[in-house]
């Protein structure tokens, strides 16, 4: 399983890539997509929606279940990756390219893990 070093991770299996202090891309991790199985739908927010750290901003659907995707930061949605709605398989094929939203005006950030910490966190959970 792949956990790129340049990303930060949450305990609820989202990744975040900061562009600068106030903007970042958010998606779900390789581990998340592996656990969920083949994803068939992504319910995405709209541009301008508010993000609250620790709260759901999107949900994804696999054949088995629907799962919330939680925001690691508080801020505003400045861009939405509409491609995921048409091609949900991208979340399985390339989870770190399949960003959900670009967050801007970030005011608050959850406790995040480095790639090593996240890998250890997953190993512990098994």
């Amino acid at each position: 399983m792949n956990f790129p070093k340049e990303l930060k991770y949450t305990k609820t299996h989202e990744w975040i890539r900061f562009e600068d202090d106030n903007t970042a891309y958010i998606g779900i991790t390789d581990y998340a997509q592996d656990q969920l199985g083949d994803l068939v739908f992504a319910n995405l927010p709209e541009e301008g929606d508010e993000l609250t750290a620790g709260e759901a901003f999107a949900d994804v659907e696999s054949v088995k279940a629907v799962s919330d995707v939680l925001s690691p930061v508080s801020g505003t949605v400045s861009e939405v990756n509409e491609e995921l709605a048409d091609e949900p398989q991208k979340m399985n094929e390339a989870p770190y390219d399949a960003w959900f939203v670009k967050a801007a005006e970030i005011t608050e950030t959850e406790d995040l893990m480095t790639a090593e910490e996240y890998e250890a966190f997953i190993a512990e959970g098994r």
Binding site: V40, F41, E61, K64, A65, V66, Q89
Partner: protein
């Protein structure tokens, strides 16, 4: 098999009606522009088409159907005979009330019995299915708070083990959903509940026994906590089969309920339905019920008296098994589930190893980890043995879950045979895990591509023009 449109040939239709000789006076804007696509087949071909479809299905009359949480019990023939009586079928909802008094009596009697069984004071037969009953019940809760001017109560509390319909119905009724954790016994975590209730609590939704097949021993404490916070308690009757005639939701502290006639009261399910999900409540909410014409009612949720013939079948069931038969059915449902559980638990790990109610949940996480054989693979393998698989991947709090509900209408021989098949499949999974991914081998359709079907659904026939 061929679709009905592929069997169709122009001009081969069965014509019973003479040509229409009434002048067509509809304005052009009301007429369809394209001709309607209707299959054109002789009656023989139509019959064969449906018989072929029927042969590809699995129903309760074909074999064992332990689909957890669905109560796939036998649908007695006497129900069908009663519902086919001309006094019930050759009527119209708008005919004079004094010509359908017998039908009215059926509804009134069924409502009375449902009140007695559930401990409620009033019932409406209008809701057409379980989730519809939930939605209706939640609207009663909403109407109650609104009439009191208590408009800040916007939240419905739902345990994380709940049926997916609970949060969905709450959202549809305009509430915010608050999910609370289950404890290590699969029951409501009292501390989480205490932390979740407050001035914004409209109510709590619960099944009892819950979705892991366990009766919540803290039920009186749970409903007390919600009531003290000013909320109401909603009972999802999905699992009523385990307790009917023995324990009543009304006595557990619930204010509003629905029951599924198509589960607990032996009327057919799914495509063979229709269903019926009557809503019941305590006296202080009765005026809000739909279909009663009372002032303050939330209004109709379905036309007329709901799925009336389903009510006829449910009443036939109640009357034919009687006061003694209702708790006996519940006891046998619980006995059958525990019998199967005990015969399987040495190889199929239980999510919660306790005496269960009408169903039990197996957790195959370890098998998946060791052999890569999933709950889905095991379920698919059962199809080759003429068993409808248990419910899979539910409740969500149990990973690789299989939820088994044998119901009371199966013989010991059927249960023993099913146990043997379950055990054989497990042995095969351990010995030859690779082969399990190919199951089933002998069904008309092997493994449909569920992912493709969900990503790119083809939901209607593509006509050439």
């Amino acid at each position: 098999m061929k679709l009905v449109f592929e069997r169709s040939r122009a001009g081969r239709g069965t014509q019973y009606l003479p040509e229409n000789d009434v002048p067509r006076r509809l304005p052009k804007a009301q007429l369809r522009e394209k001709k309607l696509h209707l299959a054109s087949l002789p009656e023989t071909e139509v019959d064969r088409h449906y018989t072929e479809l029927a042969k590809q299905t699995h129903g309760v009359n074909d074999g064992f159907y332990p689909l957890g949480s669905c109560t796939m019990k036998y649908n007695p023939q006497i129900n069908e005979e009663m519902a086919a009586l001309p006094g019930f079928t050759k009527i119209h909802p708008l005919q004079d009330a004094d010509t359908v008094e017998g039908c009215r009596e059926v509804c009134d009697t069924l409502e009375k019995y449902l009140c007695e069984i559930t401990g409620m004071d009033a019932v409406s037969l209008q809701p057409a299915a379980g989730a519809h009953g939930e939605f209706t019940g939640l609207l009663l809760i909403k109407a109650y708070h609104r009439e009191r001017g208590d408009v800040k109560r916007t939240k419905i509390i739902v345990p994380d083990s709940a049926h997916g319909t609970n949060p969905a119905s709450a959202a549809m009724a305009g509430f915010d959903v608050v999910s609370i954790a289950s404890d290590d016994q699969g029951c409501v975590d009292l501390e989480s509940l205490k932390a979740a209730v407050g001035e914004d609590t409209a109510g709590l939704m619960l099944t009892n026994p819950n979705t892991v097949g366990l009766f919540d021993p803290n039920i009186l404490e749970i409903t007390r906590i919600v009531h003290e916070a000013g909320g109401l308690c909603y009972y999802d009757g999905a699992n009523l089969n385990a307790v009917m005639g023995i324990a009543r939701p009304g006595d557990m502290g619930f204010d509003v309920i629905h029951v599924n006639l198509h589960k607990t009261f032996s009327t057919p399910h799914g495509g063979g339905g229709p269903g019926s999900g009557p809503s019941g409540c305590k006296a202080f909410l009765a005026k809000y019920l739909p279909g009663k014409g009372a002032e303050g009612s939330i209004g109709d949720v379905r036309s007329f008296g709901g799925n009336f013939l389903v009510a006829v079948k449910a009443l036939a069931y109640i009357l034919s098994i009687g006061r003694e038969g209702i708790p006996a059915a519940a006891e046998n449902a619980v006995l059958n589930a525990n019998y199967m559980k005990e015969k399987l638990k040495d190889i199929y790990p239980l999510a919660y190893d306790r005496t269960c109610m009408h169903e039990f949940v197996i957790c195959l996480e370890e098998l998946k980890h060791q052999t890569d054989v999933s709950a889905l693979d095991i379920a698919k393998a059962m199809l080759d043995h003429g068993i409808h698989p248990p419910t899979m991947y539910f409740p969500l709090i149990v990973h690789e879950a299989l939820m088994v509900e044998p119901t009371e209408t199966e013989t010991k021989e059927t249960l023993d045979e099913a146990v043997r098949i379950f055990r054989d499949i497990y042995d095969e999974a351990v010995k030859n895990p690779e082969a399990m991914h190919e199951k089933p081998l002998h069904t008309p359709v092997r493994r449909p591509d569920e992912v493709l079907a969900a990503r790119s659904p083809v939901i209607r026939y593509a006509f050439e023009d």
